[in-house]
Amino acid sequence: MVQSHTSRRKFIQTTGGAAVLAGVAGCLGDDGAGTGDDTDDDALTIGAIYPLSGDLAELGEESLRGAELAFNERNEDGGVDGQEVELEVADAPDADAGVSGVVSLVDTHDVPIILGSYSSTISRAASQRAAQDDVAYWELGAVADVITDDNPGNTFRTNPTASFFGEDGVELAANVIAPALDIEVEDLRMAVMYESGEYGNAVGDGAISVAEEVGIEVVEDIEYEADTSDLSSEIQRLDSADVDVLNHTGYDPDIDLLWNQLENLDVYIPTVIGNGAGYSLQTFTDNVGDTATLGTFNVDFTNYNTNPEYAPGIAEFVDLYTEEYGDVPLSGHSLANYFGANVLLDTLEAADSTGLEDVREAALSLDEEEQTSATSWGVSFDEDTLQNERISVIGHQWQENVHEDDIWRPDVTDGSPDLYSLFPEEARLEMIDVDYIPQPDYTQD
């Protein structure tokens, strides 16, 4: 899932002109690629494609870290069938670069399998290309349903898709928010607002169609360009529509813009459901202030303040990550990619070879129940779509952090907002409960 702001106009930042300075490129060498610097001839090399430069770099890097942690851990445990595994990484700031990345990994580095890729457009372009070479493509984080719905035959996905976000958000509205607001579900007025990129469209469309099924009225359907500097007309539409719940999908800058303008223009919306992205990051509360943050819901991959009985190993993952990278994880991306990379490694243990057919057979043979992994996800791939079906997203809420025994940022107890898992209930830490419906009136701040 794409989280950082993706400005579409990179305006030749990655194109040509690049070029002129072959000298510099030569001097810097190629340490940019590959984590397995100590190349071992006997090791099994898996390709990895993530955006590590450009607009998506921040969370592309966060995603890669999860895969790296899984590979390191596996090697310490003796590798796959005794063979060491390593990642050969290609940087793909956009879809075109993803295609080149696949060609480079397959032809130059001879990798039998590729994993990635954080962004849905990168994933689609890259997986199609890999299919032409009969190379298995493992998607560990991108959400667009179409990636596995229109599977080119080689693409395995371990993480939940965009429609899960839509469904969960609508269920949250129907089962939790409507009762708390004392409104009948069919009278609940929901607005769906999303940025016009791949990510916003995937999640926004899902939310709208599920809402219609459940019988929630979608009173506004607003698609906007993420680069915009003014959302006041969109806010006017929300205001006029007398919205009870806003379901919003965006990147950090437009999320910040929306909330600052809501506060300044005195438009109060009782409950807001975010869909990952900026809504999961600490910068959200830094940029919109504590009052507006508190009570905001967020449907997302598993984040870290989750009950370890529901997601066994989650606390250990935070420790592993902190030990390796010197700070707590930035977002749930590293965890989701850690999970997916482990499923891939388990598949390789079970597979006769790294050929597509053998990988497919091995993957389909995997059978893990839910709530057995650090994300809580289980493993069972659909035979046709190759989509993992034992997956779920979690409804989180921003609440005051006064707890010493939470998992993510246990050192913070000053009451500033942190993200806590709420739904399903088993995911909840013991001391956490639903609160802030409707949320505090941030316009009075």
């Binding site: 950082s4 016009s196 360009e225 003014d230 006041s232 006029s240 300044n264």
Partner: protein
């Protein structure tokens, strides 16, 4: 419903004022030097970073920091002129465009290297105000007022000072200005420095209403192009009309049509104005309006 319409138009005007503030330096440089500075938005991006750090380290009111950032960018503009613009000032359009494209790379990636990709924002300094049952954002209102003040000062500089006379003469015809004893390269230097100082002044305003990040420049440079073309090259008062026209277009399109259709509408407008201007029809069309605004003095 009529209140909603009026409120939307007024908000569009305020945001458009900020667009005008961003664009006025570009129109000055374009009008006088005949150089399209593609890096204009990149200068704005740097000004936003400077504003952000002045705010977060010194705790200074962001609007007051205009008084720091603008002079700083005057110097920055002068240095950029010496190093980069002066060598290509008499060269082809190709050279001029790609030198400024080169500046974009340098600025954007320097910002990425120094500050990282996470967006920053000056928050919590100003809120909203209510008037006649309508709500507005203070930041955009003050931004609009700063734009008006800046344009008025620039107007006085151009039409009430000796320097302004020389700038206008250079803009009219560099050859004749030179014959009249004007050191046109000194004028170019000052024009570029003033233009960059103006975009510096926009930095603290934009840093309060949008996110500061290395790639933010692309959005604003395109908006600035539209403002410059609609307002007329080098026409500083025209920018103050064109900015709000775009702001209103966006606001109304977002309210009544679809937010994605605002830009196509103003790009059509932009294209039409370019063509009509080239054929002289636009001047006929707007003759009365323009004379009303610029009195008997004409544009820069």
């Amino acid at each position: 419903m009529v209140e909603v319409l009026i409120q939307t138009i007024l908000r569009g005007i305020l945001t458009g004022g900020v667009y005008a503030l961003v664009a006025v330096g570009l129109t000055l440089i374009f009008g006088v030097m005949d150089v399209v500075n593609f890096a204009h938005g990149a200068y704005l991006m740097l000004a936003m970073y400077v504003s952000f750090y002045v705010w977060s380290f010194l705790g200074l009111d962001p609007f007051l920091s205009v008084l720091i950032v603008a002079p700083l960018f005057f110097l920055f503009g002068a240095v950029s002129y010496y190093l980069v613009i002066h060598p290509i000032i008499d060269r082809s359009m190709f050279a001029q465009i790609f030198v400024t494209v080169g500046l974009i790379w340098v600025f954007e990636h320097l910002a990425l290297f120094l500050f990282g990709p996470s967006p920053r924002r000056i928050t919590g300094e100003y809120g909203g105000i209510r008037a006649f049952g309508m709500a507005f954002e203070e930041v955009r209102l003050y931004g609009f007022l700063i734009a008006v003040v800046v344009v008025a000062l620039l107007f006085l500089l151009l039409y009430r000072t000796r320097l302004g006379l020389n700038i206008r003469a250079t803009s009219e015809s560099p050859e004749i200005a030179q014959l009249m004893g004007v050191d046109i390269y000194r004028i170019y230097l000052l024009t570029f420095a003033i233009g960059i100082a103006l975009v510096g002044a926009a930095g603290p305003v934009v840093a309060q209403l949008d996110s500061t990040e290395p790639t933010i420049w692309s959005y604003y440079v395109l908006i600035a192009f539209v403002v410059v073309v609609l307002g007329g090259l080098g026409n500083v008062t025209g920018a103050l009309i064109a900015g709000p026209i775009i702001g209103i277009t966006e606001a109304l399109a977002s309210l009544y049509l679809d937010p994605l259709l605002g830009p196509p509408i103003y790009y059509v407008l932009f294209f039409a104005v370019l063509v009509l201007r080239a054929t002289g029809q636009f001047e006929e069309l707007t003759h009365s309006v323009r004379t009303a605004f610029t009195a008997d003095k004409g544009g820069v």
